[in-house]
């Protein structure tokens, strides 16, 4: 697929059909900006737009939005060395090619689709989205796969979407309409919608698409999977409204009308043309790699199958993948398990259809809101007659370009971040009403706080904590711990005390990142900033292996964590007969050399008390749950006293700052400028230099003073709110 779609993407970007190719730093003249300006004129907005932000502020914005962290000093220097006219377009291309782009936007999809790494198949689904973004999988195909997948959790990564709601038709109906089309129909499950047009019958008709899907859990193989059955579980009238015998299966019925087949708007013919070119490119690719079909080929992953099976011209990538899957299933020992859901395939074709206006509109509105800070429709997943978009023409322009471009994600992002509205400064120093009018017209940017993951990674970036900045052994620490130690009861052998019992209840051990040297051992319960890394490649590899395995009865029984805990305590009990526990105070010495990994690669959602969650990551269970960016006391405590801020502030010998301060003649001015650049992506103003100097001077050493300054900058509002 990389080959196939990679070629397509290149073709898309160079075809000249992209409306918003950036020509100069100003970005004026792009079709998107023009559409918005025209629409604002029609809306009789007379306020003068706020100027675009300067180059440094733009660098900070796009870095945060595209790769999920602030720029490093080196990146600032590189960017500023480019000719001013080409800086903005060049940096966008560079950042979109950065591996972190995929990391950061996987989080966007994970929030939207409510993917949870600890739910059945959830880690595989996260890895799948990550890979799909890397491969430039079109959004319509991605959506279709999630809506229609069937099979074993993990082995078929996309099935996590259906399993996430336990394959419950009612839950899936509400979620699917809202997530993919911005239609809120959930209220109509129990009663006709009070403020919208949806009736209970509409809801049941939509739920019927999911009515033949069942979730199964096999205790003996430790697997969870979905499967299609013949009986539709969605019955009308609803339970309780009629005797059960009178309730009949509901025929699936779609919620909204599609654009008539007789009409072919420009964006659809452009899409058709593009897909035609794709098929031809794929055929060319196939000719170059023609191989004989064999059983081995059938076992290749769906991506390779897509290339191979694309001989039949005019098939969408989705059809091809479906065929490839059917091939694979044909040789599966338990083919029924992976049998595609016909009704959900039909539904997927209706939802992710270029003629379904809600599909593209809802998605581009999400992306726009994420980047610009405010949707054309707010809340972003509430498209209803009572909640009209503020700028319907601009919304449709974006949606149509997205469809015409083959539902490609990167060009959509590029169009937005190179448009004027994205680059506007904030409205300050004017009446509140004018400010709000400007923001509503996208003539000023709202204040936007970094996502929690971005904040986390930005602190690490600014503080040089992605790598060791202190030499080994420079941070030796001794702590005293109160640990539980097993000692033999009378008549028992001392040697019989199991080693692992000698350790304290170390449930925090699993949270540890393995670092070189002795890892720091914090007390269990307070490791709220480190994270469990999720290795996407390993997860996908395992998924592929499982997909080709026959379903076999393993000797493993599924145990709940509660049961495992009960068993652990039981071991305790039996040991208790031979040993008793005493508490001892022990001293431990270890090298507390700080290093952190990217939060975008952590298992997600993080534990509820973790930094990432405290700053707004949701638990991804509730449909439509958005990130709460309101400040809280817990956030303040984490930033003021947390290990990460503290270690980021401390100057390490391996970072450039150290050289400026450690010598005989410290270069205070330069060091202050570097601190501002590294943390706030700007140079300090004259009065700020004076203040910073007094902070540095008012300290035991320039290094301590710099740590104080950096701590203040990291804790400042300017750090967490985008310029």
């Amino acid at each position: 697929m990389r080959l196939f779609l990679g070629a397509v993407l290149t073709a898309g970007l160079t075809s000249g059909t992209q409306a918003a190719e950036l020509t100069a730093s100003g970005a004026s003249g792009t079709a998107l900006s023009q559409t918005l300006n025209k629409e604002n004129a029609e809306l009789k907005i007379e306020l003068k737009p706020v100027d675009l932000v300067d180059d440094m502020a733009y660098l900070r914005r796009v870095s945060v939005d595209l790769i999920g962290r602030i720029p490093s000093h080196g990146e600032i220097q590189e960017y500023m060395a480019w000719a001013p006219a080409e800086r903005r377009s060049k940096i966008v291309d560079k950042l979109m090619a950065d591996p972190r782009f995929v990391d950061r936007w996987t989080t966007f999809f994970a929030d939207m689709l409510r993917l949870r790494s600890n739910s059945p198949g959830g880690a595989a689904a996260l890895a799948f989205v990550h890979q799909a973004l890397q491969d430039d999988m079109p959004y319509d195909e991605l959506a279709k796969r999630f809506i229609s997948a069937n099979g074993k959790a993990g082995a078929v990564p996309e099935v996590a979407y259906v399993l996430g709601d336990n394959a419950d038709p009612m839950a899936l109906a509400g979620a699917t309409a809202q997530v993919f089309m911005g239609l809120r129909i959930s209220c109509a499950q129990c009663h006709d919608h009070p403020f919208d047009k949806w009736t209970r019958q509409d809801f049941y008709g939509f739920a019927a698409y999911f009515g033949k899907t069942r979730r199964y859990e096999n205790d003996f193989t430790n697997t969870v999977y979905t499967q299609e059955v013949t009986a539709n579980s969605v019955l009308w009238p609803p339970q309780g409204d009629a005797p059960d015998a009178e309730r009949k299966p509901v025929d699936p019925k779609f919620l909204v009308g599609l654009i008539e087949a007789s009409a072919t708007p420009d964006f659809i013919s452009r899409l058709d043309g593009k897909r035609q070119t794709e098929a031809e490119l794929a055929e060319a690719a196939l000719a170059a790699t023609e191989k004989a079909d064999s059983i081995d080929d059938l076992l290749l992953d769906a991506a390779d199958k897509a290339v191979k099976a694309s001989k039949g011209r005019g098939k969408s990538a989705f059809d091809i993948v479906s065929e490839a899957k059917k091939d694979r299933e044909a040789i599966d020992l338990d083919a029924a398990m992976n049998k595609a859901s016909e009704s959900r395939m039909a539904l997927a074709d209706l939802i992710a259809n270029p003629r379904n206006r809600y599909f593209a509109r809802c998605f581009v509105n999400r992306v726009w809101s994420d980047l610009v800070g405010r949707g054309f429709v707010e809340p972003i997943d509430d498209f209803s007659e009572a909640n009209a978009p503020t700028h319907p023409q601009t919304l449709d322009f974006l949606a149509n370009e997205f469809v015409a471009g083959g539902f490609q994600f990167k060009p959509l992002i590029k169009m937005v971040v190179t448009s004027e509205p994205y680059q506007r400064g904030q409205a300050v120093g004017m009446p509140e009403l004018d400010q709000e009018e400007l923001r509503a017209a996208f003539l000023a940017s709202p204040a936007r706080r970094m996502l929690s993951e971005v904040m986390y990674d930005s602190i690490i970036t600014a503080g040089h904590l992605f790598e060791y900045k202190h030499p080994q052994g420079a941070n030796m620490k001794t702590v005293t711990d109160r640990v539980r130690v097993a000692v033999p009861r009378e008549g028992e052998e001392l040697a019989a005390v199991p080693q692992d019992l000698a350790a304290a209840a170390g449930q925090g051990a699993a949270m540890k990142r393995q670092m070189a040297g002795q890892p720091e051992m914090r007390r269990p319960g307070y490791n709220l900033e480190a994270g469990i890394e999720l290795d996407f490649d390993a997860v996908l590899k395992k998924a592929k292996e499982e997909a080709t395995e026959a379903v076999q009865v393993e000797k493993m029984v599924v145990k709940s964590s509660e049961e495992l805990e009960a068993e652990r305590m039981l071991t305790d009990t039996s040991n208790r007969r031979r040993f008793r526990y005493v508490y001892q105070t022990v001293e431990r010495t270890f090298d507390d050399n700080p290093m952190f990994g990217s939060s975008f690669r952590m298992a997600s959602p993080a534990n509820p008390e973790h930094f990432i969650r405290i700053f707004g990551q949701t638990d991804r269970t509730q449909v439509g749950d958005t990130r709460d960016h309101a400040p809280s006391m817990r956030q303040a405590l984490m930033m003021l006293n947390g290990k990460m801020t503290h270690e980021a502030s401390r100057v390490g010998p391996f970072e450039p700052m150290h050289k400026l301060l450690a010598g005989e003649k410290p270069q205070i001015d330069k060091a202050i400028e570097l601190a501002y650049l590294e943390i706030l992506t700007r140079k300090p103003q004259a009065d700020e230099v004076d203040l910073a100097k007094s902070i540095v001077a008012d300290s035991e050493s320039p290094l301590d003073g710099m740590a104080d300054l950096r701590w203040v900058l990291l804790n400042s509002n300017e750090f967490r709110y985008l310029p």
Binding site: C187, Y526, E563, A566, P631, L637, V712, S716, E718
Partner: protein, 418 residues
């Protein structure tokens, strides 16, 4: 800012301000008639959460002489005629302070759904997350003193959801250990730390002119609150350094015992709701060995906690309650275990207006079904509301503008209050 008090616009407050009567009765009278408007009997709650589903038959509802009895014998308590399982000898001495409910009729037999229902009173639905009871309490009751009003020890509390993150629990990972987030980082003394805070305030007020967000004010408030907490003498309530060794031993010198000691100090310092989490009750095998172990750890702590709260007078205004997802099967399986059983199970409540030394309801002779006075999960929540003077039918708005009652249609078990 999305805070605790943003969603308090409810139908009832509308009624209260506009129409003060309903069919000739004043609203207040109607409420009083249903027992919902009265002087609170409890100011604080200590909520024990036993993860996994604790057996009711081997603890609060023994079945001596029946095939479902299991390995334990019932023991006498401080209340004649009231017996509990043998693994709680110390707690048995406090039974005059404790009421047992033996007829909880649950409906959920899977951990996740049962946990959700017992902790929120609502059945799990995909469209809305309901707040846990602790969040409901701190939504309705003012914070007293500097400490967070809601604290969870050794595990997670349910989400605050639409009540806002101000109603979320403050997390204490390891009771008695120093919380690193409540003091300046290691190596930063208070002079230097305070200087940093002063400089930060200067920087932020300077920045306030460059941006427009209302949240900046809220950020300042949150920093102020954090600093107030860091400087508060009340933080001592999280610490156990001053506790004499003899006291540790009375509580059993275990993490659970330390959790109880911290909980006691927290409610004494004004914390409204303390949740103490403990797992390991999912005893599908070797139920009796496991429960004996649980007893050894829990009994001294529970007995000492109730005794100490009673001695200090705190028990009068502190409601102590222990709940679990469900009970366990009366039938003992081939692995000497008991499986999930929601149809009937038990809990205890003490203090905060609860009349001790009584048993509410009963299960049938083998513990399969409620025999009399079945109590539904929402009734338990309504009972706690009753003690705290909270109207369980008060409605709050979810972000989707759906009015939601604090409790899912429960009626308080008024007999508990004597």
């Amino acid at each position: 800012m999305k805070g605790c008090f943003d969603y308090q616009f409810t139908r009832r407050s509308m009624l209260g301000s506009t129409a003060a009567t309903l069919m000739g009765f004043s609203i207040r009278d109607l409420l009083a008639a249903t027992g919902r408007d009265h002087k609170p009997t409890a100011e604080h709650v200590i909520f024990f959460w036993n993860g996994g589903g604790m057996t009711h038959l081997d603890t609060w509802d023994p079945k001596p002489g029946r095939p479902t009895q299991g390995e334990f014998e019932p023991i006498d308590t401080s209340v004649p005629g009231m017996q509990i399982g043998e693994i709680f000898p110390e707690f048995a001495k406090q039974m005059h302070n404790v009421a047992l409910v033996r007829s909880i009729a649950g409906t959920q037999g899977a951990h996740e759904r049962a946990t959700y229902q017992v902790q929120t009173s609502y059945s799990q639905t995909p469209n809305v997350i309901h707040p846990g009871f602790g969040s409901v309490v701190v939504h309705e009751k003012d914070q007293l003193g500097d400490l967070p009003a809601y604290v969870t020890i050794s595990g997670q509390a349910p989400r605050a959801s639409y009540l806002g993150q101000k109603c979320a629990a403050y997390f204490v990972g390891s009771p008695g250990d120093k919380d690193p987030y409540l003091a300046f980082p290691e190596g930063i003394n208070s002079v230097r730390g305070n200087k940093r805070l002063e400089t930060l305030a200067r920087f932020n007020s300077r920045f306030a002119t460059k941006t427009t967000s209302e949240e900046l004010d809220a950020t300042r408030t949150s920093v102020d609150e954090a600093v107030r907490l860091m400087r508060s003498p009340a933080l001592k309530a999280f610490e156990l350094d001053h506790i004499p060794l003899s006291q540790f031993e009375r509580y059993g010198d275990t993490p659970f015992g330390r959790g109880c000691l911290v909980a006691k100090q927290l409610v004494e310092t004004g914390v409204r709701f303390v949740q103490i989490n403990r797992g390991g009750f999912d005893t599908h095998s070797n139920n009796f060995e496991a429960m004996r172990n649980h007893g050894e750890i829990m009994d001294p702590a529970l007995g000492s906690l109730i005794a100490d709260l009673a001695d200090s007078g705190m028990l009068e205004k502190t409601l102590v309650v222990m709940l679990s997802e469900f009970g366990r099967t009366p039938k003992i399986n081939k692995d000497a275990g008991r499986d999930h059983y929601p149809a009937v199970f038990s809990c205890f409540m003490a203090g905060g207006g609860i009349k001790g030394g009584q048993v509410i309801g009963s299960s049938d002779e083998d513990g399969f079904q409620p025999k009399d006075r079945p109590v539904r999960i929402p009734d338990l929540h309504a009972t706690l509301c009753h003690a705290l003077g909270i109207d369980p039918d008060k409605e709050v708005m979810t972000p989707l503008q759906r009015p939601m009652k604090l409790v899912d249609n429960g009626s308080p078990v008024l007999e508990l209050f004597g």
